[in-house]
């Protein structure tokens, strides 16, 4: 599965920080994610089964990675590592 950079950033943040709200992800990404696109990306990722969401205490949607999302992130790390190794060789 090919992981676009925005989806990869979201998965990295969700795996690293735990469940987050959309706006939290934007703030934590330090400019890598934009407010206008975050929910469209999260919706797409939910359709793919990479993240799941539930309504949190504040009434807002709280997002967390699924097992598939975590595996996709791990695979993306391995893949990019191989590319870097290939470039060095």
């Amino acid at each position: 599965m090919q992981l676009p950079s925005s989806e990869r950033v979201i998965l990295q943040l969700l795996v690293g920080k735990g469940p987050c709200y959309g706006l939290e992800l934007v703030t934590s990404s330090r400019g890598a994610l934009k407010r206008g696109g975050i929910y469209v990306t999260l919706g797409r990722m939910e359709e793919k089964g990479l993240v799941s969401s539930a309504t949190g205490e504040s009434g807002r949607r709280l997002y967390k990675p699924t097992a598939l999302g975590e595996r996709a992130l791990a695979a993306a790390h391995v893949f990019s590592g191989r590319i870097k190794l290939g470039a060095k060789a």
Binding site: L23, R35, G36, G37, Y39, V40, G43, E46, R60
Partner: protein, 292 residues
């Protein structure tokens, strides 16, 4: 009224788009409520509005890439162009001599007539939902973006044609005192009203089809939407004919024509909102909730 119905449901028919839109608005509200100073509040509103516009643009872009929008716009444009050309072919022989005697090139008249009719027909066929299947919801933002693009391009093609037509009409009528700037302004207002008509008819047509598709055959619902759009387009025709015979200057005539176009838009929006407000008249048995 739930967000699935009403205006929001009409504009954002799919769950993903609606949720993205609603969450962005909720972020905007949350940030604005937490702002401690006027400057910070202003910044929140600016970034909230920008984010909302970006969401709309993103949804329009995603929907615009779908085959559904391509099919709707392609078929609507083809039908509209055929209508425009046919209408010009019918009318041209009837008015050819009259235009020649006024010193207007009949071919130019024919071209302007075909192009004008195409733009009106395009709006009406958009209302009918040509290329859309039963129970298929219109990807509204994508269709609106393409409709505006098509009408904008049509306006660019029409602008030099109509300018030349007005120049010849002016020369024929020897209308003194009408300078170029008001003519350009009036022409621009007229084109803008046609672009707005395309968008409003698109929304009106979807509202009519959704309202009636469960009660009548889908083709009948499409016919009803087309009839409503045609009816509204022709609403001001008697008034226009009266003005054409009474008003002396082209400027006065064009001002009235533009006012008439905006009046038609007001009627369209009123009808759309009336349809959406009365959408769920049937209630779920045993409850006060609207039927699903």
């Amino acid at each position: 009224m739930s967000s699935r119905n009403g205006f929001a449901g009409l504009l954002l028919p799919d769950e993903t788009s609606r949720r993205a839109f609603e969450e962005t608005l909720a972020d905007w509200r949350e940030e604005a409520s937490q702002a401690t100073s006027a400057g910070r509040s202003l910044r929140c509103h600016v970034s909230g509005a920008t984010a909302t516009l970006r969401v709309i643009a993103g949804i329009a872009l995603a929907q615009g890439r779908t085959a559904t929008v391509g099919r709707i716009i392609g078929r609507t444009l083809l039908l509209a162009a055929l209508t425009g050309l046919s209408w010009a072919a019918i009318i041209m022989p009837l008015v050819r001599d009259a235009q020649l005697s006024r010193g207007i090139d009949p071919w130019l008249y024919g071209l302007v007539l075909a192009a004008q009719t195409t733009t009106v027909a395009f709006s009406c066929f958009l209302a009918a939902g040509v290329g859309l299947r039963r129970a298929q919801k219109l990807p509204m933002f994508g269709a609106v973006a393409f409709a505006v693009l098509v009408m904008g391009l049509a306006a660019m093609v029409l602008a030099p044609l109509t300018a030349e037509f007005y120049r010849q009409s002016l020369a024929a009528a020897q209308a003194a005192g009408l300078t170029v700037p008001p003519l350009v302004r009036l022409s621009f207002a007229n084109r803008l009203s046609r672009v707005a008509a395309a968008v409003t008819f698109l929304v009106l047509g979807e509202a009519i089809r959704r309202r009636f598709q469960d009660r009548v055959h889908y083709a009948a619902a499409q016919g009803l939407a087309l009839s409503a759009a045609l009816g509204i387009s022709l609403l001001g025709l008697p008034l226009r004919l009266l003005i054409a015979s009474e008003a002396k200057g082209l400027s006065t005539r064009m001002t009235w024509m533009t006012a008439e176009a905006w009046f038609e838009l007001a009627v369209t929006w009123s009808l759309t909102f009336a349809l959406l407000r009365t959408r769920n008249q049937t209630r779920e048995p045993g409850t006060l909730n609207p039927a699903p």
